[in-house]
């Protein structure tokens, strides 16, 4: 579902944020992308979702190149950033309606999906309020609901659990599992290694813009904790 081939991203000023990175996430995979601050996680993610241009390499989503068919790729994926800067001048429901309009989700479908997710995330009562009145966690919940509104084939999340309350965290983990069973591919960055270990069937580790390893979680950990494996790999 997501295939990154030899991706290189160089920022103005010459800093190479991502260097020759190759990675594949198949349908039904939940892949955690871990690394230090500034390792290149967010840069990689931003190249995939169309926020950053990149210098070398190829990125394919559902078999389509993000450079050649950007709109078609965006239509089948959803992205939740690490800091949910949403349109604060809209109410929650106006925002969700806007996103649904853009993705062409029918009125009946959007109503059903918003109802389900807003109830689960305990956000329905607040949907009539301006987003500017929301807390960080509420914005994060709204961003998650908006990402699920068009049933994406590829879900990309940057630090999705930051700011979520325990109930919402649990719901998101369960939702990730069900999406994965339905064939959605999930690629997310995190610093919470415990969650990555329990939730993901795949783990990719990045250091200094280079992919150190990407493999099945079980194969990588081999009975050890992901935390100790991560520390070993990073120190090498």
């Amino acid at each position: 579902m997501l295939e990154i081939k030899n991706l290189t991203k160089i920022y103005k000023g010459g800093k190479e944020a991502v260097s020759n990175l190759s990675l594949t996430v198949n349908a039904g995979d939940i892949c955690a992308f871990i690394g230090h601050n500034g390792a290149g996680k967010t840069s990689t993610i931003k190249c995939v979702v169309g926020i950053h241009d990149f210098d070398k390499g190829e990125i394919f989503v559902d078999g389509m190149s993000v450079k050649e068919k950007p709109l078609e790729c965006k239509q089948v994926m959803a992205y939740i950033p690490d800091n949910p800067d949403l349109y604060e001048y809209l109410t929650g429901i106006q925002y969700l309606n806007f996103i649904a309009d853009i993705y062409g989700v029918s009125a009946a479908e959007r109503e059903q999906r918003i109802k389900e997710e807003a109830t689960a995330f305990e956000l329905e009562a607040a949907l009539g309020d301006l987003i500017s009145s929301y807390s960080h966690g509420m914005k994060q919940k709204l961003a998650i609901i908006s990402a699920l509104i068009h049933k994406p084939k590829l879900l990309i999340l940057d630090e999705p659990f930051v700011g979520l309350d325990p109930m919402a965290t649990l719901h998101l983990k369960n939702r990730m599992h069900t999406l994965c069973e339905e064939g959605t591919a999930i690629f997310f960055s995190t610093h919470v290694l415990d969650v990555a270990e329990k939730l993901c069937n795949k783990v990719a580790i990045i250091r200094g813009g280079k992919l150190i390893t990407a493999s099945d979680t079980k194969d990588l950990t081999d009975g050890k904790s992901l935390e100790s494996v991560f520390m070993e790999v990073i120190k090498e």
Partner: protein, 534 residues
């Protein structure tokens, strides 16, 4: 306390004009933008210098040289009042960065004063641009002694205090009243626009009262005393400045003491309730009782258009800054409808231009309409939410179209009312009447497309305060200059060339402008959103 004020002010001033960002960025494009912006600022300053210098020269030429310093001082204070008034509320009472600052071991008064310092410095720069060329011309003619320089130096240094205090009080009042209303931003916009109209009407009547007392050149010198008294009645500090220059020590003390005292008392009172005012004014109200029902699906373009409208009306600064030109066009056309072209030209002290004004009236109408295009900061206003547009499966062209359509929809009612009022007042023949409709429309379209193109060339997405993009953005300045040039150049050519048929001349101008607008539109729609933030 002084050390804290200095430290905080230093941080605040670093964000001014984006100088710090340019000094430390490795992005060559940002440095180029800054250079271009500096050139544009220099052009604006040169225009202002020419205008003020010319004004001072004119007064000396008419034998009214004595009132030049106080006249400049009055104009300066009025301009500073209007300029500070637009941003006082959002700069002084902004909650952004307040949370961080208030958690530091600094005095609240220091936070407040540091915010005043930013506005004071910008006002002082403005004061220097207005006063230096005007006073230089005055010095050239009057050859005053050393005290003139000293008194004027102190007068300029203290000049921003009173306008700053008044605009802060008005800004706080407007924010305070509107924060209690359901449609906060809309209420703030109405109150701001209302007050600006009152100030503009006041300045017009001031200009009228001064010109009414200047019957002919022979009697002008005898009228100096009357004019001085008239200006003094309108703005007493101007009279104190005038009298201080004549050697009145008491008025010199008043000139510096009164604004300083009023400012100090205001800051002291404000610092007592600063936190309460900040949190009160920025409070958001949530009902938390929404029930999901009857959602509707809409077309992508309509959804984007509605989003643009909501973004626009969510910021009173944005609406007032871009809308003031549209309002001015209606006021101008209304004045022409009521007074007629001839009376208005005389009232505005421009009787010498009367024969020419008739020939270029469509340009006169177009000028305020295309001076401040809202599209010039529509990309920058997306700010940190710009990622959203980049990741959505929408063509960049659709987003640009929605932004252009929204700007046109906002300007259209003002354009139509202005044209109709102008037709009533000017009573042109049928062939000319067509151009009263067409020329302003073509110029309006040009300015809107130019505004968006400028913002795509000079986007600023990383800002802390709307003022940085709405009032100080490079795109706004460049598009304003472009709009003014697009009106002035063909208008001046019309006067200089004196074409045999003005109708044909207008057709040619409209055709050229439409071609430029079309080319600009085609070029901007090729710009992908992914390249905007780079």
């Amino acid at each position: 306390m002084i050390k804290q004020v200095l430290t905080l002010s230093k941080v605040q001033l670093k964000s001014l004009f984006g100088i710090n960002e340019v000094l430390h960025t490795k992005d060559k494009k940002k440095k180029q933008t800054f250079t271009l912006l500096s050139v544009a600022y220099v052009l604006v300053v040169l225009m202002a210098v020419g205008y003020v210098g010319g004004l001072a020269y004119g007064y000396h030429y008419l034998g009214l040289g004595d009132i030049v310093p106080m006249y400049l001082y009055t104009i300066l204070s009025l301009l500073m009042l209007v300029l500070s008034f637009f941003k006082a509320g959002s700069v002084l009472f902004s909650m952004k960065s307040y949370d961080i600052m208030v958690s530091l071991p600094v005095n609240k008064s220091a936070i407040l004063i540091s915010r005043f310092v930013t506005m004071y410095v910008t006002n002082l720069l403005f004061a220097l641009i207005v006063m230096i060329p005007g006073l230089a011309v005055h010095i050239w003619f009057a050859k005053p002694g050393i005290f003139f320089y000293l008194i004027s130096l102190f007068a300029v240094l203290f000049a921003p205090l009173l306008p700053l205090t008044i605009s802060s009080i008005l800004g706080a009042l407007i924010k305070g009243i509107s924060s209690r209303m359901k449609k906060k931003a809309l209420a703030e916009t109405f109150l701001t626009v209302g007050l600006v109209i009152v100030i503009l009407a006041g300045s017009f009547s001031m200009s009228g009262s001064l010109s009414a007392e200047t019957p002919d050149l022979e009697a002008i010198k005898a009228m100096i005393g009357t004019l001085t008294a008239a200006l003094g009645n309108i703005f007493p500090p101007a009279l104190w400045y005038h009298n201080a220059l004549q050697g009145n020590a008491l008025h010199f003390v008043l000139l510096l003491g009164v604004p300083a005292l009023i400012f100090a008392v205001f800051v002291w009172l404000l610092s007592k309730k600063f936190t309460e005012i900040c949190t009160g004014l920025n409070a958001t109200y949530a009902k938390h009782n929404y029930k999901l029902e009857n959602l509707k699906a809409e077309h992508i373009l309509l959804a984007l258009f509605k989003k643009e409208l909501k973004l626009y009306f969510s910021s009173s600064l944005y609406v007032t800054n871009s809308g003031i030109g549209y309002i001015l066009s209606v006021l101008l056309a209304g004045a022409i409808a009521v007074l007629g072209v001839d009376s208005l030209a005389e009232f505005m002290e421009m009787p010498m231009f009367l024969p020419l004004i008739h020939k270029v009236l469509p340009f006169v109408l177009a000028m305020p309409l295309c001076m401040m295009s809202a599209s010039a900061c529509t990309i920058s206003m997306e700010g940190k939410t710009f990622w959203q547009l980049q990741v959505l499966p929408v063509k960049a062209k659709d987003i640009y179209n929605a932004k252009l359509l929204w700007n046109l929809a906002v300007a259209a009612p003002f354009y139509l009312v202005s044209v109709l009022l102008m037709l009533i007042g000017a009573k042109p023949v049928l062939a000319d009447a067509l151009h009263y409709f067409l020329l302003p429309l073509v110029l309006l379209l040009f300015s809107i497309v130019l505004g968006l193109a400028c913002n795509l060339w000079f986007p600023k997405l990383n800002w802390d305060n709307e003022t940085q993009v709405v009032k100080q953005g490079a795109a706004v300045l460049v598009s304003m200059l472009g709009g003014v040039i697009a009106v002035i150049v063909p208008a001046v050519l019309a006067i200089a060339l004196q074409p045999a048929s003005y109708a044909v001349y207008y057709f040619v101008v409209e055709a050229i402008l439409l071609i430029i607008t079309g080319a600009l539109y085609c070029s901007l729609t090729k710009k992908e959103l992914i390249s905007v933030s780079r």
